[in-house]
């Protein structure tokens, strides 16, 4: 019996009259890559925002390793071991790569309300930040100002910052969004690397990437879960093809 | 108007003083000086008055009248030429200590004239009383300046808040108003005036229906006036000045109260603002140590001279500045220009009689004028003297340990 690391039960989120998330009940297994697919406006990002605490659900429950985290704030969610990356690059542009990761790594302290000793004496934080950079292939860019890097590198840094917090579960919101094919391959490789040891929840448009990375896939339409299953199941599902691929064509057009 | 208010160390002031003096070199037959060196240096008169903001007009009138008096005396003090050092106080209390120090320490003035604002006055006097300077206050009315803060080298040629306030109570009782609403701006000067008013009014058997302190310097009075109308007192006694006085008087009339409830006040209610108040000011009675229409030779002469040199009508503030100038002239004449003879000069100033446009006055032991207070009424936009309410009003100078 695989361990369920994260579970949602009848999760709903309404914006005025709009149901952005509609009765979503999902289970995510430890050690697996679980991708969430869906056309634009299907409520994928809303779901991730609910899971990461950026938004509070209108009703339903979220539990992480059996603990109820339904109403927890983002910082709480991060501290209990759920890291997230953002769809729009969300870094500290004026800081160097290392400093960006430092902020992530420093969250391993019980509290950062420490006023006296200079932070740079914290060896452990140092190591974690460097480790995250290395994982994401940014070791060479350690002292570069983040805002001056290429878009692809900023996306990698985005993931590195999350990794520096050493999460148990990674929420990745379209890590490949807006990338060229070469950059895209780099990041896909990185994700594959991560998938070996980590639990990933992945929102992605790029079907090829999803099919090559994911263990399980959930397809969402209009805020609700359409179907969940293995890659094979989804690939062959008529409902998914009707709902999603139809939409996807429109999107390409 | 723009011509007279030049703050800072205005070069022109120095030149003006110098030129006036030069023109009169022949006229001045005084052979001064017990100290030859003392004669060559100019007397430094530091002036700390507001030239910007709400009190700007007061500041320039005081300064002009002060210089008018000194120029009348040949442009010299005790035979020595005068250098004026002007600083804009901006009527800003936080800046007062620094600006006072600028005059005392940086410029090392012999005389310090100022200010208009009472709180600036408190800060200034605190520093000046321990300094080697003679300070003359040409306006600021806080009782404490010649009360708890009094000192031998501090003089005031204007008034203490007590002086227009206390006779106000007497005047209203004499006019037959027993039930009175007391309204004033809730800050130092207003509170002191109101307290002095209450002292005489209650002692004389008057009844204060309600005391309404209104926030300073706000000028939204409508709610209070509605309250006054509902209380139906015999009369109202007020303390407001400047823009607040204009607004208050106009609102009072617009609310129809001027017909049924006579309005009284400390004189500043109708000083220098009757033009802006217009008809609404007619019939208002106020108590003050001066009135434009005082029929005294000194007053008529002064008003003409002031109009001629500045192009402006004189007002009570100008009178106070003029008298400050007179005090300097008398003090310096007594020591023949030797500013180091402080003790002797102070003695002469203490015993001086100032032939002021407001009428002759002398100084109390605390160095505040002992002066007559007039009841005035606005007739055709001018303050006409009705009667002298109280002769030789002397401030009680509470807390003054001098003399």
């Amino acid at each position: 019996m695989p361990e369920i690391i994260l579970r949602t039960e009848h999760l709903c989120k309404n914006f005025g009259g709009l149901k952005a998330t509609d009765d979503v009940s999902l289970e995510f297994e430890r050690g697996k890559v679980h991708a969430i697919l869906g056309p634009n406006g299907a409520g994928k990002t809303t779901l991730i925002n609910l899971l990461s605490g950026e938004l509070q659900p209108s009703s339903g429950r979220i539990s992480f390793k059996g603990y109820d985290i339904t109403d927890a704030r983002p910082e709480k969610i991060s501290r209990i071991g759920i890291g997230r990356s953002f769809q729009k690059t969300n870094i500290l542009p004026g800081f160097s790569c290392f400093q960006n990761c430092w902020i992530g790594a420093q969250s391993c302290l019980i509290t950062s309300m420490r006023f006296f000793r200079p932070a740079r004496h914290l060896r452990m934080v140092h190591r974690r930040a460097d480790h995250a950079l290395q994982l994401c292939g940014l070791a060479g860019k350690r002292n570069q100002i983040a805002g001056t890097m290429s878009y692809g590198e900023q996306r990698q840094l985005e993931i590195a910052m999350m990794l520096a917090t050493e999460p148990e579960l990674l929420l990745l919101d379209e890590p490949l969004a807006g990338m060229g094919s070469e950059e895209s391959q780099q990041v896909t490789a990185l994700l594959r690397e991560l998938a070996r040891e980590q639990t990933l929840i992945l929102i992605e448009h790029d079907m090829d990437a999803v099919f090559s990375l994911a263990d399980r896939i959930t397809v969402m339409v209009d805020g609700a879960e359409l179907e969940t299953g293995s890659v094979e199941q989804i690939r062959n599902s008529q409902a998914v093809q009707d709902a999603y691929l139809g939409h996807a064509d429109e999107e390409v057009a | 108007m723009s011509d007279q208010k030049k703050p800072g160390i205005s070069r022109r002031d120095i030149i003006k003083g110098g030129a006036a003096a030069a023109g009169l070199v022949t006229a001045s037959s005084l052979i001064p000086t017990r100290f030859a060196i003392g004669n060559t240096a100019k007397v430094k008169v530091g002036i700390l008055l507001p030239y910007t903001g709400t009190y700007a007009k007061l500041g320039s009138n005081i300064k002009d009248a002060l210089q008018l008096r000194i120029n009348e005396a040949g442009g010299k003090l005790g035979g020595r030429e005068v250098e004026y050092i002007n600083i804009d106080s901006e009527a800003a209390p936080p800046k007062a200590p620094e600006l006072t120090n600028k005059l005392l320490k940086k410029e090392q003035v012999d005389f310090l004239i100022g200010p208009v604002h009472s709180v600036v006055g408190m800060a200034m006097v605190k520093l000046a009383r321990n300094a080697d300077v003679i300070a003359v206050i040409p306006n600021a009315g806080a009782n404490g300046l010649t009360g708890s803060l009094c000192a031998p080298n501090i003089f005031r040629t204007s008034f203490s808040s007590y002086q227009p306030g206390f006779p106000g109570g007497t005047a209203m009782l004499e006019d037959g108003h027993k039930n009175v609403v007391l309204m004033y701006w809730n800050y130092g000067f207003g509170k002191e005036t109101a307290a002095a008013f209450k002292e005489s009014f209650l002692a004389g058997g008057g009844n204060i229906v309600k005391e309404i302190p209104t926030p300073f310097p706000k000028v939204e009075f409508q709610a209070y006036l509605t309250e006054v109308a509902a209380l139906k007192p015999d009369a109202v006694f007020t303390f407001y000045a400047g823009g607040g006085a204009v607004k208050f008087v106009k609102d009072y009339a617009a609310a129809g109260l001027h017909k049924s409830i006579p309005l009284y006040g400390a004189g500043f209610l109708t000083e220098g603002v009757t033009g802006a108040q217009g008809e609404a000011a007619e019939g208002i009675r106020t108590t003050l140590h001066y009135a434009d229409t005082l029929d005294l030779p000194a007053n008529i002469r002064f008003r003409e001279a002031f109009l001629k040199t500045t192009g402006n009508q004189a007002d009570v503030y100008a009178v106070q500045g003029y008298d400050a100038g007179d005090l300097l002239v008398q003090g310096m004449a007594a020591v023949e220009g030797d500013v180091r003879a402080k003790a002797e000069m102070i003695k002469a100033m203490e015993s001086a009689t100032i032939d002021s446009p407001r009428g002759k006055f002398t100084f109390s032991k605390a160095h505040n004028p002992i002066q007559d207070i007039y009841l005035r009424e606005v007739v055709n936009g001018q303050n006409q003297v009705i009667r002298t309410v109280q002769k030789a009003v002397e401030d009680p100078a509470e807390g003054c340990k001098m003399g």
Partner: protein, 288 residues
């Protein structure tokens, strides 16, 4: 106190509230649409009052004075927008605060240079000079009623412009989505210039209306500025409806605060603000 006392106080409060609404609506409009925090709003009030004084003096009539002062205020607002504000659209609020603070200093000095530091009064035209007798000894000045009437008319006109006209549509669109307005092919610079001059003119108009009752003196803009901020914060930044409700609330709180809690009259409005924000940090009608 009789009931009439409270009724008259109610009238006073509402009348003050209307005047505040004119100020606050301009402020909230400029913020909501342009994202500019404009400290110089009080300066426009002051300029309106002085223009009114000056032009009424020249023409001898308040109405012609105001009629002439309005186009001048629009021009002035436009000039300020082009010369100073337009550089701030992409800048942090911090710089907006600082630059508009500098505009206050400059406006106050210009006022002192052009018009001096005296207190001036503006005569009320014969037509509006009378009073209406309310109780045995209290009358209510007709001019104050006129102010309220003018404010209501303007509020209705504003509602109509914003809800029903093409300009209003553009303004509403601009408030919710700047990119969309540009996508519609509307020149955003042009829209901002209009909104800013409009807002500035509203403040100036408030100053003109109030000039005859308040008289005109240096620094009149400063006090009303801070109170207008309180109104905007209470109502919710960017919301005209909020500004209206907030202005009435503050008008009433201020009036009754003076009567019932005279010891801390000025603190009442700020306490009200703190209470509202404690309950709703984004203001009564503000978006999160």
């Amino acid at each position: 106190m009789e009931i009439s006392f409270y009724l008259i106080q109610l009238l006073n409060g509402i009348q003050y509230g209307f005047l505040l609404f004119l100020m606050a609506s301009g402020l909230t409009l400029i913020f909501g649409i342009m994202g500019i925090i404009n400290l110089a709003h009080g300066a426009f009030y002051m300029i309106g009052a002085y223009l009114c004084y000056w032009l009424t003096g020249i023409t001898g009539n308040l109405f012609t004075g105001i009629l002439l002062a309005i186009p001048l205020s629009i021009l002035f607002g436009y000039a300020v927008e082009r010369l100073a504000i337009s550089y701030l659209y992409r800048r942090d609020h911090l710089y907006q605060v600082l630059l508009t603070y500098a505009l206050i200093l400059i406006a106050n000095e210009l006022q002192s240079i052009f018009w001096g530091n005296d207190v001036h009064s503006v005569p009320i035209p014969e037509l509006l000079r009378g009073s209406i007798q309310l109780t045995a000894n209290q009358a209510y000045p007709v001019y104050r009623l006129f102010i309220s009437g003018a404010c209501i008319t303007l509020a209705v006109a504003m509602y109509w412009v914003i809800q029903k006209t093409r300009l209003g549509m553009t303004i509403r669109a601009g408030a919710s989505n700047r990119e969309m307005v540009q996508a519609l092919g509307i020149n955003i610079n042009w829209l901002f210039a209009i909104v800013f001059s409009l807002g500035a003119t509203l403040a100036a108009f408030a100053g003109m209306l109030a000039a005859p009752v308040n008289s005109v003196y240096p620094g009149i803009g400063d006090n009303i500025l801070i109170i207008s901020f309180v109104v905007v914060v209470i109502g919710g930044i960017g919301s005209i409806k909020g500004a209206f409700i907030g202005a009435l609330l503050i008008g009433l709180a201020d009036t009754f605060g003076k009567v019932l809690l005279p010891e801390m009259a000025s603190m009442v409005v700020y306490a009200l603000m703190a209470a509202v924000l404690f309950w709703r940090p984004q203001g009564l009608f503000g978006k999160v």
